[in-house]
């Protein structure tokens, strides 16, 4: 809490020029998009990318480029959603370690999708989304309740532990359901690692309105989240409905997590890395932090996907694995940096 306070005070003193960072972020995103359509099993040049995207060229190169467009779009959408959700979850729980993956929200979405496939015959994207959203909400409530047990309320330590243990519990429930159903397992095991490789534009389009709703809710909470950073009592004193803001913003974040998981499976650590990085760049004001994180999250996930494709050639490494390998060290860095304070 004090760090956020300091950050807010610090902002007033030194100007961080957030608009410029935003612009720079957008440029980085454009570069990442270019890399994403250019790299892969077959590397193509800038000119060829342009030809492929603007003409109806039937060449192999053009086809390769065009086949990479859906996954690029998906990476942008999911990356932005997860990063925004991460910012909001960190603010709402006042917990620097909050991340949809660490908090087990993904695992809830996965569990209910398994249940949907196994018991309700769900086989289409709209149904996946319904189950994923319900699961995300269920897991969020559950983790928060477990994490608030005992003295001192939901500390970062307890929430992280509750998330880990809930993930383990939900995952083993999933495997209990899957084990006797070999056919479901074959479909589902690809769901256990987040990936953008199976993207379909139609699916993305379907989920987009839901993501927009989540984003709007989060964006509307930006100012209240700034005040919430001062502590519940101070915020209430400044006229913020603490519970209402919390529930609303967390709801927005859960919608984003659930929808993103429905599209791409569980992708960890984007919601953790990006907010921390962006806070260094634009400060702790959520009105800048949210858009900056959205752009940075999209960029990060697009790049992580490119890295996974390049390193895994001729096959590919799923983007969920790449973000975990990048993200876990960042998580450790956050933990170890806070060494003085008792977590």
């Amino acid at each position: 809490m004090t760090t956020t306070l300091e950050a807010i005070v610090g902002d007033a003193v030194k100007t961080r020029r957030p608009p410029w960072w935003l612009l720079l972020g957008l440029l980085a995103l454009v570069a990442a998009v270019f890399l994403s359509v250019a790299f892969g099993a077959r590397v193509v040049s800038l000119g060829e990318v342009w030809t492929a995207l603007t003409t109806d060229s039937e060449s192999v190169t053009s086809a390769a480029v065009r086949s990479r467009v859906p996954r690029t779009i998906l990476a942008i959408v999911v990356g932005a959603a997860l990063a925004v959700a991460g910012v909001v979850l960190q603010a709402v729980t006042r917990n620097p370690l909050a991340d949809p993956f660490i908090l087990g929200i993904n695992s809830g979405a996965s569990l209910l999708v398994v249940i949907g496939i196994a018991f309700f015959g769900a086989a289409t994207m709209p149904l996946y989304i319904v189950f994923a959203l319900a699961g995300a909400a269920l897991a969020a409530v559950f983790v928060y309740a477990v994490g608030s047990l005992g003295v001192g309320g939901p500390t970062p330590l307890k929430l992280a532990l509750a998330g880990a243990i809930t993930t383990a519990a939900f995952t083993s429930l999933s495997s209990a359901i899957l084990l006797p159903r070999i056919d479901v397992m074959r479909v589902f095991r690809f769901w256990q690692v987040g990936s953008v490789g199976r993207a379909e534009n139609s699916d993305t389009l379907l989920v987009l309105p839901i993501l927009l709703v989540g984003t709007v809710i989060c964006a509307l909470s930006a100012r209240s989240l700034n005040i919430l950073a001062l502590g519940d009592e101070a915020a209430a004193g400044l006229g913020v409905h603490v519970t209402r803001v919390r529930l609303g913003a967390a709801g927005g974040a859960i919608i984003l997590c659930g929808a993103a998981t429905a599209l791409a499976g569980p992708i960890g650590f984007v919601g953790l890395i990006v907010p921390h990085l962006c806070r260094q760049l634009v400060g702790a004001d959520h009105r800048w932090l949210l858009p900056m994180s959205a752009i940075a999250g999209a960029t990060l996930l697009t790049l992580a996907d490119v890295v996974g494709r390049v390193l895994g050639r001729p096959d590919e490494i799923d983007v969920g694995v790449v973000t975990a390998l990048i993200g876990a060290p960042v998580f450790l860095w956050v933990v170890l940096r806070r060494s003085g304070s008792r977590a």
Binding site: A145, L161, S175, R189, V321, S341
Partner: protein
């Protein structure tokens, strides 16, 4: 003086009241374990009479039973008991040392290291048997050492051990999931069998793999248990009472990780046994005295009972780890409700 005598008698009475109850419950747990163990040998397809089981155990030849009880059920049940005891001891050690009932070795990264290594051995190296087991032991201990090295500088080591462990666990879990996705059909089945913790392939070799370390490490842990209970008072106070904090913590981690790693190597991760055994044992015997022996007994009972349930209670045969794993969520809810009601700390 007479006032003092009554005072010290009060103290004695309070001290003994808990101890007697704890002893009774430990005895009860031990009897239940023996009964369940005997039941696990007799029950199944076919069901043997206690007399037949006894004859097999005493080395007489009984047609059919000598093989099924002596060669199939006996190693399986022994493995269940020993591995369960190992998980129970490792779990309660971590929970007590870190003063957090959620901090069990299967949550904070140690088992995850063993899993990732075993899957790597199965999927990438195509290995099986002892190679997989040893890989799991080495990786489990190495993961613990890495977590400890990262977390153990400066103050608040306990909290950082947990958080660093969670971070490492999350990373290792994605590696595990990735290996699963790219496993071929045959390796996938072996990998899943490993991941779900199973006693199906119990052999006397497997029993030896975990029994030998158990015989060495469990007494070591009992020797450390008084220091462990002092650590519950917080590091400063424990140090003030003459506990060498850092060496004690290192020894405890080493012994507990050894127990968890060898047990995992022999059976695969039997999820949540380490997590549940300690709190259940404490609930039964109270907070007095050492939770070690009761936790080991509860761990053994859990694994044995879950294995029987998994084999016979459902239409499909479930591996033991799936049964215990499925208990995880309800157990968390139970903890939630109990803490809500009593208002106590977790």
């Amino acid at each position: 003086m007479s006032a003092n005598r009554t005072a010290s008698e009060t103290v004695r009475a309070v001290r003994l009241r808990g101890a007697r109850r704890a002893r009774l419950i430990v005895a009860g747990l031990a009897i239940a374990l023996v009964a369940l163990f005997a039941g696990s040998l007799a029950f199944g397809d076919p069901v043997y009479s206690p007399a037949d089981v006894w004859r097999v155990l005493t080395g007489q030849f009984v047609p059919g039973a000598s093989f099924i009880v002596g060669e199939l059920r006996l190693p399986r049940s022994v493995l269940a008991v020993v591995a369960g005891a190992c998980f129970g001891l490792a779990g309660v050690t971590f929970q007590t040392m870190l003063r957090n009932p959620l901090a069990s070795p299967d949550i904070i990264g140690i088992t995850n290291g063993a899993n990732a290594a075993a899957l790597f051995a199965i999927v990438v190296l195509g290995a099986s048997g002892l190679v997989v087991s040893l890989g799991a032991v080495v990786a489990g201990v190495a993961t613990a050492a890495l977590i400890y090295a990262l977390a153990s500088s400066g103050a608040a080591v306990g909290a950082r051990l947990i958080l660093v462990g969670i971070g490492i666990a999350a990373m290792l879990n994605s590696v595990t999931a990735y290996l699963l996705v790219y496993a071929n059909e045959f390796d996938l089945q072996r990998a899943m069998r490993w991941l779900n913790g199973s006693l199906n392939l119990a052999t006397w070799d497997g029993v030896a793999l975990v029994a030998v370390p158990f015989v060495v490490l469990a007494p070591a842990l009992l020797l450390l248990s008084r220091r462990l209970s002092l650590l519950r008072l917080g590091e400063d106070l424990a140090a003030g009472l003459g506990v060498p904090i850092e060496p004690t913590r290192r020894l405890l981690v080493l012994v507990a990780v050894g127990l968890a790693a060898f047990a995992t190597a022999a059976t695969g991760p039997i999820l949540f046994v380490a997590f549940m055994a300690g709190p259940i044992a404490t609930r039964l015997v109270g907070h007095r005295g050492s939770p070690m022996v009761p936790s080991a007994l509860v761990g053994a009972l859990l694994v044995l009972a879950a294995d029987l349930l998994g084999q016979y209670a459902f239409g499909t045969r479930y591996p033991v780890g799936v049964v215990t794993g499925a208990l995880g969520a309800p157990f968390l809810i139970y903890l939630l409700i109990r803490t809500q009601r009593t208002g106590g700390s977790l």
